[in-house]
Symmetry: D2
Subunit: 141 residues, 4 copies
Amino acid sequence: MELTMTAPQLSAFLAREFPQVADDFVIEEVSEQRLTVRLKVEERHLRPGGTVSGPSIFALADVAIYLAVLARVGPKALAVTTNCAIDFMRKPAAGADLIAEARMLKLGRVLAVGDVLIRSEGVEAPVARASLTYSIPPDKA
Amino acid sequence: MELTMTAPQLSAFLAREFPQVADDFVIEEVSEQRLTVRLKVEERHLRPGGTVSGPSIFALADVAIYLAVLARVGPKALAVTTNCAIDFMRKPAAGADLIAEARMLKLGRVLAVGDVLIRSEGVEAPVARASLTYSIPPDKA
Amino acid sequence: MELTMTAPQLSAFLAREFPQVADDFVIEEVSEQRLTVRLKVEERHLRPGGTVSGPSIFALADVAIYLAVLARVGPKALAVTTNCAIDFMRKPAAGADLIAEARMLKLGRVLAVGDVLIRSEGVEAPVARASLTYSIPPDKA
Amino acid sequence: MELTMTAPQLSAFLAREFPQVADDFVIEEVSEQRLTVRLKVEERHLRPGGTVSGPSIFALADVAIYLAVLARVGPKALAVTTNCAIDFMRKPAAGADLIAEARMLKLGRVLAVGDVLIRSEGVEAPVARASLTYSIPPDKA
């Protein structure tokens, strides 16, 4: 599970392959233990009452594990989510970004599994947790 | 589990409470057995290669069960998703809307559980399945 | 997704490969649409108060999808569960067997996905629902 | 989320309320950060080939979160699992006990959420991970 991509390389990859969403996210830390991503919360992520929408929280969890997989297997745009289980536990704090902390639990030949805790910046109690499985495309060489 | 809201009532509620996303969805059928919602797929829902994004599929699953709950308990904007398990099984067909078919499995005093199958319009094999739990706020009276 | 094993063939396979648990289950129906399995509830499946234990309900869901996979891919004892999401929705009826109704949603080259509804015999409202993913071992030939 | 029960108190509770399974488990550590439970693997937990069965791993995850909830809310036998998402990631090591490390992520008025990592004793790479939701019965007083 050694790293093969750095935070700047992952950011560049995201910007090139997923231009629609890359601006939403800032990759804050990439290490063997942990990958940290920030969702820069904007008006478009909110629901009435100022809470971040479920799909935006899902998107953050999804991108965090995706990047943790890529950091290890290299830039394979075609890795796809096959499964996600997510618990929404608390309302996000108003006016705060969301911070996702992901860890890889398994990196197999065809499947990768990771989990992620999502918090409002500056708040310890988590907003959500999620576990995701990614299917890794075979190398075509 | 009798119905207390019709499809037009649910549509009006969605437009009033969730104006940011209400235009994405068309409620096609509401019955005791089934609630059917269409995601009108637009450029903003797509990923490179023309496939519908994971967060857009999640959003469709989430709104389908939310509406199935509201159809029974009435217009309570504050029902919140507490859990979702989703399997992404096939790439959506290019250029086709997604159709979600939801059913309620449990409607308790505090928790509601439903599941949903999502297909590309005109294709039998499902794109995704999801099960969701909603927490229902107590009546304040 | 054509069937390659019948109910008696599946029962014989279960008895041979999983003798510890085969007696717990009766395969009641195998068709392309549905596989039905009964858990013959005995003292050892119960918790105080007479309710069927969570692990017993999980085991029933697991075996139902496993058999639905085998019915299609043939007798591969090594197919393994990679993921399960299960909702426990109601207390099982006292003194009643549990009936699981499974359907296959995807049968890919490496992953199979199915879901299952579990009811107390003679009761319409479901006790539990589950979705499971199985990893299918490659043919060694 | 302060603790109200110690490891010996939890063990005594388990032995009294769940005599059928209490002998399978040893509560090794209870702290605010973490609850650790051992599954003493016996013949009856195994599948052909010597691997621990899925239902046994599920039972371990379930009891670990259950005990983590009880350690905080006190001895309420009626807390029930409402949801579990579990990933089976690696084959357990032959001849080794399984060790579950659980943490509480949310302890609300009606719902508690925790997650758990399960490893073969002495092996770092996890066998399984699970997240569970428990419904907490209201106090009758």
